[in-house]
Symmetry: C2
Subunit: 501 residues, 2 copies
């Protein structure tokens, strides 16, 4: 037994050895050189996450988790403002539950992690580690909901889920990931549809106003829908390489789960009715969206509203006398900024040069750097250096007095400029193609916005021809959509197509 255990351990260690080098020594390639490798290296180098010993799993390191906690707070505030409450449903689900909703089982069966043994015994019925919680929550709702008075039920949970993916990337697609999943039940189809749209709008607002990530809101095609939904809405963002990232989804589940799990209520007339349900989620994948939307060849650039550290103060000195004066000023300024609720870190590390510190915090994407040297102390000024504008362009000298106001203003300006830059990049890399030739060229470098006949066959052909998928059909379209970019028949609507993560 001991020998077997040791052998297995050795195998795991071997598999993990390639990630055992100190991540601090990794060199970041440029985005133009190799975008994919730039991403992987940056996640490790900025200490957002690390590989776990189990294939495809990740460790979210403190810096990455602090970013996720800020994302959580920004979303949770919005969920509560729209009447939702949090709860926690079990990790382990009887396998039979997954099999109750026909499309759901088809979608999720291939991705399940299965617990077959517990407490040294083989289980009577295998348990599934939740890949998503519609089934177990549907089961609970069938008990809790009895009457129209119990509706709507508006519950969210922050949880980990497991999907057995074959090709994994840190944050973007991992076996275990972290997310929130909202699950609501309503008396009418109209209310469920309202909720579905309300939450995709909450996601848009969050993405654009907190993460500075511009998104396109739209409906998914039938092919791309959530397994078990009548309709899926999505926010789609363009990454720095022109590819799309599905960044959040909201599903109108119709009565599919209500029928599979018998979620019923007595209406005002005493008639038993099935509920209408929705679900919606944003995951740690969104961290990937932030990295690939804003990052540059020096590293991360974090939007000020979500950055764990909004400001880093780097003291610059040579002599002990200078050090005392500079650190004194730097600590005073940190206090000022903290009082103004600016998340500020003062880098007092010994034995590393200011230049090393500049690079280090640029790699980690801190939006604003404050440099304080002996001359600044003498003049009562500091240097502000914006992370989003390199070199001289991003530098300014400001007085120490009233620094908090200047900093707050600069952070707001950085937030705005990150959004505008990302939007300009998306607009510049989106084409409304005249013909299929232009279309296939467009999806090589960005988004194509093109008429589509509504046929899944055309969608499939496009994917086979170009590897691009239909990302979404934007809401609120009117007028003549033209003719399908693939088959030339009358189009039902215009849709975004792109290669996607």
């Amino acid at each position: 037994m001991a020998a077997v255990a040791q052998e297995a351990t050795a195998a795991v260690s071997e598999r993990h050895r390639k990630t055992m080098a100190d991540n601090k020594d990794l060199k970041l390639p440029s985005r133009a050189e190799d975008f994919s490798e730039w991403y992987n290296t940056l996640v490790l180098r900025a200490e957002l996450a690390d590989y776990a010993p189990v294939r495809g799993c990740m460790i979210v390191r403190p810096y990455g988790w602090a970013l996720w906690e800020n994302i959580q707070q920004a979303l949770d505030r919005r969920f509560k403002a729209t009447g939702h409450v949090n709860a926690q449903f079990p990790l382990l689900i009887p396998r039979s539950f997954i099999e109750k909703e026909k499309s759901h089982v088809e979608g999720f069966s291939p991705e399940l992690a299965v617990v077959t043994h517990g407490g040294g015994q083989e289980l009577e019925e295998p348990l599934v580690v939740r890949p998503t919680s519609e089934t177990i929550i549907g089961h609970a709702y069938s008990k809790w909901i009895q009457s129209y008075r119990d509706l709507p039920v508006l519950i969210n949970q922050w949880a980990n889920v497991v999907r057995w993916e074959l090709r994994t990337r840190l944050f973007l697609r991992t076996l275990e990931f972290f997310w929130q999943e909202g699950h609501t039940a309503h008396a009418t189809a109209e209310e469920a549809q309202e909720e579905t749209l309300r939450m995709i709008e909450v996601y848009r607002d969050f993405a654009e106003n907190e993460a500075a990530v511009p998104v396109i809101v739209g409906r998914k095609s039938e092919t791309e829908r959530f397994a078990g939904a009548d309709d899926t809405y999505t926010i789609e963002a363009m990454m720095g390489d022109g590819k799309a990232l599905q960044s959040g989804t909201s599903h109108n589940l119709g009565q599919n789960f209500a029928k599979a799990f018998e979620i019923k209520y007595l209406d005002k007339n005493g008639v038993l009715q099935h509920c209408w349900t929705t679900s919606w989620g944003i995951s740690t994948r969104f961290v990937g969206a932030i990295i690939m939307t804003h990052g540059d060849d020096q590293g991360l650039i974090l939007p000020p509203r979500l950055a764990p550290h909004q400001v880093v103060i780097v003291p610059i000195y040579k002599t002990d006398e200078e050090k005392a004066a500079v650190l004194g000023a730097a600590r005073r300024l940190r206090g000022q900024l903290a009082a103004a609720e600016v998340r500020t870190v003062l880098d007092e590390r010994e034995g590393t040069s200011p230049g090393f510190k500049f690079n280090d915090w640029e790699m980690r994407g801190v939006p604003l750097r404050i440099e304080v040297g002996p001359k600044d102390v003498a003049k009562g000024t500091v240097v502000l250096a914006r992370r989003d504008k390199p070199g001289r362009e991003g530098k300014s000298f400001v007085p120490q007095e009233g620094l908090a106001a200047a900093v707050t203003e600069t952070l707001a300006s950085i937030q705005k400029s990150l959004y505008e830059r990302a939007l300009a990049f998306r607009v510049g890399n989106t084409v409304e193609p005249e013909d299929y030739g232009e279309f296939t060229a467009a999806v090589e470098k960005g988004f194509a916005y093109a008429p589509w006949c509504g046929d899944a066959g055309c969608e499939k052909s496009v994917k086979e021809d170009t590897k691009a998928t239909l990302r979404c059909i934007p809401l609120g379209q009117s007028g003549d959509a033209g003719t399908c970019i693939r088959c030339g028949k009358p189009a039902k609507a215009k849709a975004y197509f792109a290669k996607a993560y």
Copy 2:
């Protein structure tokens, strides 16, 4: 396949049917009648939690989760104030990891849930759903820690864990539970010991000042130590039936995990050293501590600092005219209280009487009720009714003007009186026995504080004789401890003995 699935589903549903009645109709027995059934019923009836379809798992309902979120915030604030950061380590651990530390594997092997299949394939090496994370975190630390400059590492995670328990109770002992686990690494034994004690003190402070749960801080005997620790410190609370509940623990792991996982650092002299590590945790079990410390025959009593709703406003009216006036006043008061950051709910439910609402919120343990009727509106007053003092004794009439200040003061008074009452109960049910006869009588109804020779044999005999276990050896004892209550040999220290959850 479909038939098999349906059969399995039927079995699960059958198993779950007994919990499918509407919890709202459950009748709460008195504590004297059946403390255990009082507890189980109260958890369901107050909608803190519900049974999951998988044996021993629980659903934490919104009201219970809101309480847990307040616990989380109170703890997280303290962790950050003592220099810790949060991260997230993987749920799935290679089974071989658990086997690396000898005592650890002995302690946890019988309780493991094992994933043997993923993505439709049998796994090469089975994975364990984490029962605790010393091993996977030790593995990560062995990579991240290279030099004394990297120390100390002070990380906490909020997570779910699974232990295959045979006898389960909602919150107290569930297969899956929710907790925080801190894991730290240090350069010296002294620093690790300081950290271990720092965190048990953080837990004491939290328990007493946030949850109003008085605790005894002490060291565990070797028998009761965490599997893999050199020393375990605990906070022990007395429940309403006189039994002890271990409410939080902090472990000095010595170099045990550092050696098993090769967590090493280069010291200032360039010599490779093993680190010294600690771990510490509080779980959803603490919700059980709050219920069983403060609850009475009417239901929960939640400490104001942690209560999801600190105040409920119940409007009282008969006519439509009264309703308009009363609701107007009630909403205005809610606004006043919300502005003063008092967590307030206004119960505007139609079709239920004020009496029903009083009972309902008493069951849910809201610390303070405000009653507003037509006469109150006319006189500019309200009735305050304290949850901790029944009937007239807890009632007072106060002016609407300046209500927030009166409410804040009353909540502080309730918080204080809950603590004092619980402390008086513990003191009243703790005996310092003169002989073993008194000892065995004492542990039938509460705690016995008695001299112990330090021998595990005596500890075992006590357990066999009385079912009481050694809960802890309080810190800071001095002087002669007397003679062992069981064997009469010279005692090493005095210890608390009690039956325990």
